[in-house]
Symmetry: C2
């Protein structure tokens, strides 16, 4: 893509309202723009990163034989009355009455809706186990939205739901999803702290949270300095590592995923039953598995940045390479840039070509801020010595070589 057609808008300074590193960088690199507090528009670079995260999630969900669905944001309030959660969830759920007099809410989560769907479609043990997931927009009437996309009124979640015949089946589904979460976060370039958690309003007994250690995190996780084990923080609770018997460190963290063994809370409330092999009617055993997808972008940036800007993990970066032709006055430099851009395209390597007539310093600064893993500089040397300069954003390593060698190095780095 050409920079001039990409609606990229970088900022030299972070706007005052940006509190955390990720929020500042998401605004400065032009990933998002605020429409109102807690509500953000994704610009092309932010949307591309978001799509790359979603692709990883889909691949790992599909590898668990989970089937993708898409549920509505509009939900009948009636379902929440049946589950009894309309009161638990309180004012954070947006509610309105439509012109036909129907009481409707904007889904902050979808346990009720998916249970209702499965109730009408599943009747026999032969249809179980079943795992369904969606990547979809959620709404919360946040009284104090913060940290950009982290605590927002409109955000994107991956929510998955498992349906099993018995507790052993639920345990299998739960372990499969737990393992998939590990793969997802690792591919996202994240170091994760996993803790046992209180299921709270969701219901059920067993629950785990996936946390990212970051200075702006609103939660606290206890970490053992010796074995690196992580534990939930409870006021007046656990104060030394059960294994190592040393004092635990308090670490600020951001929640990016949460999984629950729900059991029969929703299937009993909504009547989602199945006939077992003996012809006996039983409630379906459920689990649910959430990831804050838009929040993941912030988490990734929190853990992958330096003073100059973002440092995208390869799989997440909106582009794999940024091509920086310097001195557009020289026609041959732009020709060379376009020729390499074409070759990368045919290799399936998405590149961004900075076709702006700007000074080298501006282009270098913006390239570092954007955080695309590879930068290819095409300057005077490209004409004089027929050499290009490849820079790795993460470690600042540079390679100067001819075109063929540079392309080979690019493939090596991106596949490595």
């Amino acid at each position: 893509m050409l920079w001039s057609q990409s609606f990229i808008a970088t900022l030299k300074e972070a706007p005052q309202e940006a509190e955390s590193a990720s929020h500042q960088l998401m605004l400065r690199a032009g990933l998002v723009r605020m429409l109102m507090a807690g509500v953000y528009s994704y610009l092309p670079l932010g949307l591309k990163a978001l799509n790359n995260i979603e692709t990883i999630i889909r691949q790992e969900m599909n590898s668990c034989a989970a089937a993708e669905v898409l549920l509505p944001a509009l939900q009948p309030l009636d379902l929440w009355l049946k589950s009894g959660r309309d009161k638990d969830i309180g004012e954070v759920m947006v509610r309105f009455t439509d012109r036909r007099g129907r009481k409707i809410c904007l889904g902050p989560t979808h346990e009720e809706v998916i249970t209702e769907l499965v109730r009408t479609q599943v009747s026999s043990y032969k249809q179980l186990p079943l795992i369904l997931y969606q990547i979809q927009v959620k709404f919360r009437d946040e009284i104090r939205p913060r940290f950009g996309v982290v605590r927002a009124c409109e955000f994107i979640m991956k929510d998955a739901y498992s349906f099993d015949q018995d507790d052993a089946g639920l345990e299998n589904s739960y372990q499969a999803m737990h393992a998939a979460y590990g793969r997802i976060f690792s591919r996202c370039g994240l170091k994760i702290l996993t803790v046992s958690a209180d299921p709270g309003v969701m219901g059920g007994k067993v629950s785990h949270e996936f946390m990212v250690a970051t200075a702006s995190g609103e939660d606290i996780v206890l970490v053992c300095p010796k074995c690196k084990g992580s534990f939930a923080f409870h006021e007046g609770g656990l104060d030394s590592c059960p294994g190592c018997k040393v004092e635990l460190d308090k670490v600020n963290a951001m929640e990016i995923g949460h999984i629950f063994q729900l059991g029969t809370k929703y299937s009993l409330a909504l009547g989602a039953n199945f006939l077992d092999a003996q012809g006996k009617l039983k409630p379906i055993i459920m689990g649910c598995y959430g990831i804050g997808v838009s929040r993941l972008i912030a988490a990734i940036i929190e853990q992958n940045n330096d003073a100059a800007g973002i440092i995208w993990p390869k799989e997440i970066s909106p582009y794999k390479m940024i091509i920086l032709p310097l001195d557009l006055g020289q026609a041959k430099i732009m020709e060379k840039a376009k020729s390499i851009y074409g070759q990368l395209n045919s290799l399936g390597i998405e590149a961004l070509l900075d076709d702006r007539d700007e000074r080298a310093g501006v282009k270098f600064k913006d390239a570092d801020l954007l955080g695309i893993p590879l930068q290819l500089v095409i300057g005077k040397d490209a004409l004089k010595n027929n050499t290009l300069e490849l820079k790795i954003r993460r470690n600042n390593e540079r390679f100067i070589a001819g075109e063929e060698e540079i392309l080979a190095k690019t493939r090596e780095i991106l596949n490595g």
Copy 2:
């Protein structure tokens, strides 16, 4: 994908509420399920078709150098007061006040939001022309939702917006989008009627509608029986073809796309200006370009079905082939089915393997109903004569041959 993991739910009879052919088939083939009137959940087969449509739209938008963004569903009502459309649009727009006292609406369209975004990011003629688009969920408080996803309260749209320096630029953008629409609808297997239309509440002067002729269509288009030209219907208006001078036929049609030369309506109201090459401040000239994405599924089915079910166009079909092993009691039949499934996968051909222990008649009926372009039957002959049967859903043509020949034929048909 295995049928048993795909959450496919076919129905022998269409539910009573389904009025149109597409609505009936979308329910019978298990593409969608109603949550409440006008609000639908997409099941895996429906979502896959939707994704395929979205892929085509993205490819054709990107080929016009349009950049993809993602705007929020939540919009400040304030923007609609500025454009003056809060009254024009009336009660069809959902409005509520949040806990912080902000007046918010659920976006039925995004002219105001995109103009506000571009106002803050674009200041110079050097940043124009610009085309932005999104594929995103919209909300309408429909008093009488009908025809399943066709007139719904929550639906998916592609909305694009062009930003130009002058009328000639707008004309260029408009023609590029008009041509892209032709390519999109043709790849979707649709025959389109294009008519000049009244811009109405959108504003501007020039506007075109893209219509699909179908019995359940709520609009009327006039078509010349001789030259096949299509014309907008106005009570007491045009009643013969201006070229051929013959009487026009009235045809029921469904609107699936609408494009508008907006001019300066929104840029003037919201102050979206740019400095031209002479340093003069001017309002940006805008166009907008909508496609009803979820509605397209219905339109495609309206024009591609027979008594047995859906007949998906190749590019839209959720799978390219359905594999039908008959008699699962014979282990070798399922082995053969899985081996072919694996080969198709490695060729990049997505197949659905009907692994249900059902009678052949049930499998054949369901396969016809689902409308996947190719059916591969693996029965006794696969064991006895080492032959398979390939059926083309659209024309019922059958080929009986060995495995290699069948795979070659499959590739030929899918690439043809």
